[in-house]
């Protein structure tokens, strides 16, 4: 199924993201993880001592923490940390214009449609290729307003005073084994600061691309919306399919100060050799709002539970998530809502689709301690099964103590049955079209909430997945 191409190094499958380039990396930390790897990364990034120290401590925490296989999938034991390459880059400074981006990276992002999207509807774009951002640019008017949107490497270097104040405060190194790993070897990701009262109308977007084999991508994103500020951030991810495993382990921290609003949208389409183990959490101060929209398609195993700590009175948190587990994939996703102030509200809507041997697991945590008043949570999780081999599990954990609180939890499991598919096919739709229409119908009430460009992209991805799953 490969297209013809003039470049002999290029292999293409019909999936848009499944191609890779042979790149001679100028910076390569080699395989395996040790204190030396950490020093290599800190050296090439020319980092301050405090951050080097932070990394070394994190490595220790990572090594001391056991794999969470007492509750999570045993498949985690198939990650061979000594085979993974932890840092691959061509340089540490992203270009400000696409012309200056190295050819193979520029072509990659052009094929993924990034520059086109930037022209159409984005306020700023960062494009990361393996460990570092290859391109980063933002509209001039935002710069005038004092908005900062750079890679984390650049953020650390140019804005240490803001960076250090919030870095690692929402997700401490020891939160879990993979947040510790990220804290040790992180590179790339976005650093965003929106000054008080500034409302960024168009979305800022980051695109994370894995190109190399046996590679681990550990981006670190920190987004701070100052009082009354508003920002929407969107991330997209793809990687080519390799025989060996690829590890993607990001940490994303959001800070919404008083009255601020942050909307964080993810559409990931990983190939099924990727372990995607990501920690995402936001902290919402008084009257602030944090909303995660999380769409997980692909990967071998995804473990991701975006959370919001509702720290200030009247804070609101929301997680809207969609997970599609196709043959051989496991989507272990969910949400965490930690109510830590009066009158805080949270909403979780999770929809999972399991196809073939695909497995979807929902884990939810809602915490409301006794002394709080006026807290509300709504949790809905719906699962759709396509054919009988599929499996779905729901593990909601809602701890509510004391009165003057309300929680609501609803769960449903439905099946796309043969009669429904026959009915649609009798109207002329192919089996794949019928299945993707069912799936799109199932998630429709959620995708209506998404920005249009992303719901279109999601629809397209689901169509591709369904085509692949029909005999």
């Amino acid at each position: 199924m490969s297209e013809s191409s003039k470049d002999p190094n290029l292999e293409i499958d019909r999936d848009k993201g499944n191609f890779s380039y042979d790149v001679d990396y100028e910076y390569d930390a080699g395989q395996g993880l040790s204190a030396k790897t950490i020093d290599y990364i800190a050296d090439v990034k020319n980092e301050d001592d405090w951050i080097r120290e932070f990394r070394h401590k994190a490595l220790k925490v990572f090594e001391d923490k056991p794999m969470p296989t007492h509750w999570a999938s045993d498949d985690l034991n198939n990650i061979h940390f000594d085979k993974i390459r932890y840092y691959l880059a061509q340089g540490q400074r992203p270009s400000r214009s696409w012309e200056d981006v190295p050819d193979e990276m520029k072509e990659t992002f052009e094929r993924l449609g990034i520059p086109e999207q930037e022209r159409k509807f984005l306020a700023g774009v960062e494009a990361q290729f393996d460990s570092e951002a290859a391109y980063s640019n933002m509209k001039k008017n935002l710069e005038k307003d004092g908005v900062i949107f750079v890679g984390s490497t650049e953020g650390l270097m140019e804005h240490p005073e803001i960076f250090r104040k919030f870095f690692g405060k929402v997700i401490p190194t020891g939160d879990n084994k993979f947040s510790a790993l990220n804290s040790a070897v992180f590179s790339g990701g976005s650093f965003i600061y929106v000054p008080p009262g500034v409302k960024v109308r168009q979305p800022l977007q980051a695109y994370f691309r894995i190109n190399a084999e046996s590679f681990g991508q550990f981006e670190r994103t920190l987004i701070i919306a100052d009082e009354g500020a508003e920002v929407t951030y969107m991330e997209g991810c793809t990687a080519p399919k390799f025989e060996t495993t690829t590890l993607h382990s990001a940490v994303v921290e959001l800070v919404a100060l008083k009255g601020a609003k942050i909307q964080y949208i993810t559409v990931q389409n990983w190939s099924n050799n990727v372990f995607n183990l990501v920690t995402k959490r936001g902290m919402a101060e008084e009257d602030a709002e944090i909303r995660w929209i999380d769409c997980n398609i692909g990967s071998r195993l995804t473990m991701k539970y975006p959370g919001v700590v509702l720290k200030g009175r009247g804070a609101r948190g929301e997680v809207l998530s969609i997970a599609l587990a196709n043959d051989g994939q496991h989507q272990d996703t969910g949400a965490k809502m930690i109510h830590a102030a009066d009158d805080t509200t949270s909403n979780i809507i999770s929809k999972s689709i399991s196809v073939g041997t695909g497995q979807a697991t929902y884990r939810g945590l809602v915490h409301m301690p006794k002394h709080l008043k006026g807290c509300k949570n709504n949790t809905e999780c719906d699962a759709l099964l396509i054919n009988s081999n599929s499996r779905t599990d729901t593990f909601p954990a809602i701890t509510v103590r004391g009165d003057k609180k309300s929680t609501q939890h609803e769960a449903s499991v439905s099946k796309v049955n043969k009669d429904q598919i026959f009915y649609m096919m009798q109207r002329g739709l192919s089996e794949a079209e019928a299945m993707s229409l069912s799936v799109n119908g199932f998630i429709n009430d959620l995708t209506r909430e998404f920005p249009m460009e992303y719901s279109v992209e999601l629809k397209r991805l689901i169509e591709l997945e369904m085509e692949g799953s029909v005999g």
């Binding site: 043969k418 026959f422 096919m425 009798q426 002329g428 089996e431 229409l437 799109n440 119908g441 429709n444």
Partner: protein, 252 residues
């Protein structure tokens, strides 16, 4: 050529023979009614013609304007021009009627052909008006929470939009009150014409007060046992199905 020709059809469901040596020809421009008691194989015929995988065609041919559709996938049969109005239409959560019919029409388009949304909605609304359907109907999920009458009207609407060469109405009258029945019948009458053949499957004669058939066939134990004009339906109404049972049970 210009007919739906069912020749010596044998259909099995889970290994059990339901239809045997069933033959029937519906020329374009004619409306044929297929009547018979419950469990005699009327719905089996409809599902088998539409290519449902549970209804295995053991032998025989079905020629749609000369093309044998036996063994084709349900969507291929549909696009070849056969429409089945279901007795129990499925619900499709989250998919609006407008989007569903649109997807069905788009599946019939040639590659590179453009779908003109404005013309589509104009056509859709005109046909909904003819069926006395409220405009707000288009945004509801297909068949979800519909009354029996709404479901059937929705089937007729789809038929009107897809303009098939042959339409099979599988007990479209079941579960309808008299007003809904009239509307459905009017829809069929409007669609009647030289370019379309109908097979109207019904248990009751009352539908045929509103859709006047060119031919009436009586089915019993997987076969057509008697054919005639519209007066045959009246006769059945008078004598009841016991008459069919008595006459043909003894013969077999």
């Amino acid at each position: 050529m210009n007919s739906l020709e069912i020749k010596n059809l044998a259909v099995e469901v889970a290994g059990k023979a339901i239809l045997e040596d069933f033959s029937l020809t519906i020329p374009k421009g004619e409306v044929h009614a297929l009547m018979g008691p419950n469990g005699t194989g009327k719905s089996t015929l409809a599902k088998a013609l539409a290519g449902h995988e549970d209804y295995e065609i053991a032998s025989g041919e079905v020629l749609l304007d000369g093309q044998n559709i036996v063994g084709m996938e349900p969507d291929e049969i549909a696009r070849a021009g056969l429409f089945l109005a279901f007795q129990y239409p499925s619900e499709i959560t989250g998919v609006s009627i407008a989007n569903f019919i649109r997807a069905a029409l788009q599946s019939r388009q040639e590659e590179g052909e453009e779908f003109v949304a404005t013309a589509y909605y104009k056509d859709l609304y005109a046909k909904m008006d003819a069926l006395k359907m409220d405009r707000s109907f288009t945004s509801r999920s297909v068949n979800e929470g519909f009354s029996g009458g709404e479901k059937k009207r929705c089937e007729i609407l789809q038929m009107m939009m897809l303009e098939p060469a042959y339409a099979i109405m599988d007990e479209t009258d079941s579960g309808l009150d008299i007003d809904a029945l009239k509307i459905v019948a009017e829809g069929v009458e409007q669609q009647r014409g030289p370019d379309r053949g109908f097979l109207v499957i019904t248990h009751y004669q009352r539908l045929l007060n509103y859709i006047v058939p060119d031919k009436v066939h009586v089915m019993w134990e997987g076969k057509i046992v008697q054919s005639g004009g519209k007066e045959l339906a009246m006769e059945l109404e008078e004598k009841g199905y016991d008459w069919v049972k008595e006459t043909y049970a003894s013969a077999s």
